[in-house]
């Protein structure tokens, strides 16, 4: 479980950073999306990985915290997902505007001189 999680975060981050450094706006957006997935997984991992443990306490009975998983990172991830989704959408609008104004999808608005 830990190894799969670590590999997933690593691969997503690696591809995300690589795409982020590419010159096309579309690659930039995909790179940022991949990075945000990696970060979301990372936040989840910071709450310690548990399998089969509920995050919500049962009502009434005496509570043993060890039997539950940490609910806070899950709440944080939800917020982070919403925010990164919104900024990606905004990014797409700017990307289209830039494409319309400069007639190129290069991030600097002009092609490199060969």
């Amino acid at each position: 479980m830990e190894i799969i999680m670590a590999l997933a975060i690593g691969v997503l981050t690696g591809s995300g950073v690589w795409l982020l450094l590419r010159p096309r706006t579309f690659q930039l957006v995909i790179g940022l999306a991949l990075l945000s997935y990696a970060v979301n997984l990372f936040i989840l991992a910071m709450g310690r990985l548990r399998v089969g443990a509920p995050p919500i306490l049962t009502k009434g009975a005496a509570v043993d915290p060890a039997a539950y998983t940490d609910p806070l990172p899950q709440a944080l991830v939800l917020t982070a997902i919403v925010i990164s989704f919104a900024t990606t959408a905004l990014m797409l609008v700017v990307l289209l505007a830039s494409r319309g104004l400069t007639n190129t999808d290069h991030v600097d608005g002009e092609e490199d001189q060969p």
């Binding site: 940022l32 709450g47 806070l72 905004l90 700017v94 505007a97 400069t102 991030v107």
Partner: protein
């Protein structure tokens, strides 16, 4: 402030602009008068609220620590969401609201019509800024950061045009990537300490076991990178001058505050979490801040000298200002910090005023056109009213335009370069005096810091004189620009705030010293935030 409606004053700087901006969205873009008056009324109310909060922090008298808390939903502190007002946040709130009011007033003259939904975005920006200054919780800090960043993305693009869109694209990409770093940092801190409440973090960090200290410092450093990008520390701030130059002037004036948010958070966290009492991780980043800050000053000073436009000049001055503040935090000396806070207020006001004046100066000498307004990108975009009513909408025109603009320019130049007798000089004098006070234990880096403070002032002076001669005193054929009252008043407010800071420099310095004293004692902050629920909300710390 016990009981009554006064206790809810703390949450108003967040709720009020949020509600007002939601109302703005319902109003059509053509209902100019209604939108302008609503926006102006909201920002004026914000100034009032911030002044009351600021006045309350003075109530305890000097030397008396003051921390007010507001629990949302009345949950006890480490579990619920808490807002905290202490002297530093009250000061920043006041500064933000004054800048917000003046920038909005200036924008009403013409800029608010050069693109859609200006007022809603502007108020959201204020809400995010106020929230970031008030929150006592790292994750809410992230949320408020995103709120004002999202608003600033929209505002950078305000007025459209190719330079703005491509500068905006870089700005958004950099800030989205930084927000991810912010999240990584926050979650690492949570992973090590198990809390996100700043007061609780301050209590737990000294007890972090030695094997986890490395992870804690890594988390804090990654978090710090996110704020340093906002503050524009070299080499993370290369995006800043270009973006600020591309933004419309009143927005750029407001953005002067944006880079100070980064500095504010760095100051808050380094004093609260990694101050002298933080055990193994104490002051781990100070050397980095000192050296990074000095590199930023040097870079900014070179940039000021080499800038070919006035907006480029101010943009690099923003870097110098951030660099000075970061290096001052890095020294860790309380007297230097008090001077730095004074400098923060004075330089932010001066930068904002300068951005506004620059536009007036350049309007007279540079051809209108590129950058100010342009073709719409999308079909449904609101076409600004700028083109058709360029001449008749300027409002009441006041005489002696050139003299006023020239005077304002000279005033700003004095402020930026830190020449006596204005507040810029007092601020730099206080910082240098603070450094020299610890002459016995001083290292070589402090001498460098003093040298850089003076050199950056000289660079600003040279660049301003050169630009001033070129743009204002050289007679040319271009007609003098018409100056509307709506544009003169905001500049006058900002500059007279600087004057007031100069006249009451004594009380202001006392306040800054009290602020730093509060900041350096984490128990003051933590005890009042973590106070048990039985005590009334908004309790004043003993």
């Amino acid at each position: 402030m016990t009981g009554g409606w006064m206790q809810h004053l703390v949450v108003l700087p967040i709720v009020l602009p949020l509600v007002a901006s939601a109302v703005m969205l319902l109003l059509h873009d053509r209902r100019l008068r209604l939108r302008s008056s609503l926006g102006l009324a909201t920002t004026a109310l914000l100034v009032l609220i911030a002044s009351v909060l600021f006045y309350q922090t003075l109530a305890g008298g000097p030397l008396q620590p003051w921390v007010g808390t507001y629990r949302l939903g009345d949950w006890a502190a480490p579990f619920g969401i808490v807002l905290v007002v202490d002297r530093l946040s009250a000061l920043m709130l006041l500064l933000t609201s004054v800048l917000g009011f003046t920038s909005l007033l200036y924008a009403l003259a013409r800029w608010d019509r050069s693109g859609p939904r200006f007022h809603a975005l502007f108020l959201l920006l204020l809400m995010g800024l106020n929230g970031a200054f008030l929150t006592g919780d790292l994750f809410n800090l992230f949320v408020f950061f995103e709120v004002f960043l999202a608003a600033s993305y929209g505002l950078v693009l305000h007025g459209s045009g190719q330079p703005r869109v491509s500068a905006g694209l870089h700005y958004i990409a950099i800030n989205v990537a930084t927000s991810l770093l912010f999240l990584i940092g926050v979650s690492l801190l949570y992973g090590v300490t198990g809390t996100l409440n700043m007061a609780d973090l301050a209590m737990r960090i000294p007890n972090v076991p030695p094997e986890d200290v490395m992870l804690l410092e890594a988390g804090a450093a990654i978090l710090g990178i996110a704020f340093l990008v906002k503050a524009g520390m070299w080499p993370l701030g290369l995006w800043l001058p270009r973006t600020y130059a591309a933004a419309a002037p009143p927005i750029a004036a407001m953005f002067a505050m944006l880079s100070k948010v980064g500095v504010y958070i760095i100051l808050r966290l380094s004093m609260l979490l990694f101050g002298d009492q933080a055990g193994l991780a104490a002051s781990f980043a100070n050397d980095w801040l000192l050296i990074g800050g000095m590199a930023t000053i040097a870079f900014g000073a070179v940039g000021i000298l080499s800038a070919s436009t006035l907006t480029g000049l101010v943009g690099h001055y923003v870097l110098v200002s951030s660099g000075t503040l970061l290096a001052a935090i890095g020294t860790g000396s309380h007297r230097v910090l008090a001077g730095a806070l004074f400098y923060l207020v004075s330089s932010t006001l001066a930068i904002a005023a300068f951005y506004l004046i620059v536009e007036l100066v350049e309007r007279g000498s540079v051809e209108e056109g590129e950058g100010s307004t342009s073709e719409p990108v999308f079909e449904d975009e609101y076409l600004g009213a700028l083109a058709e009513e360029e001449d008749n909408e300027i409002g009441v025109v006041i005489p002696a335009t050139l003299a006023i603009i020239g005077g304002g320019f000279a005033f700003c130049a004095l402020l930026l370069s830190g020449l006596p007798p204005l507040s810029g000089f007092i601020a730099k004098f206080a910082m240098i005096d603070g450094i020299l006070a610890e002459r016995a234990t001083m290292e070589t880096s402090s001498w460098w810091f003093i040298g850089l403070i003076l050199a950056s002032g000289l660079a600003a002076l040279i660049a301003c004189v050169r630009a001033g001669i070129d743009l204002i005193w050289t007679p040319d054929e271009t007609q003098t620009p018409a100056l509307g009252v709506l544009e003169a008043v905001p500049i006058a407010i900002l500059l007279s705030a600087c004057l007031a800071l100069m006249i009451w420099a004594g009380p202001a310095m006392t306040f800054m010293e009290d602020t730093v004293r509060d900041l350096s004692d984490r128990a003051v902050y933590s005890d009042s935030v973590l106070a048990p629920i039985g005590k009334s909300v908004g309790e004043v710390a003993p």
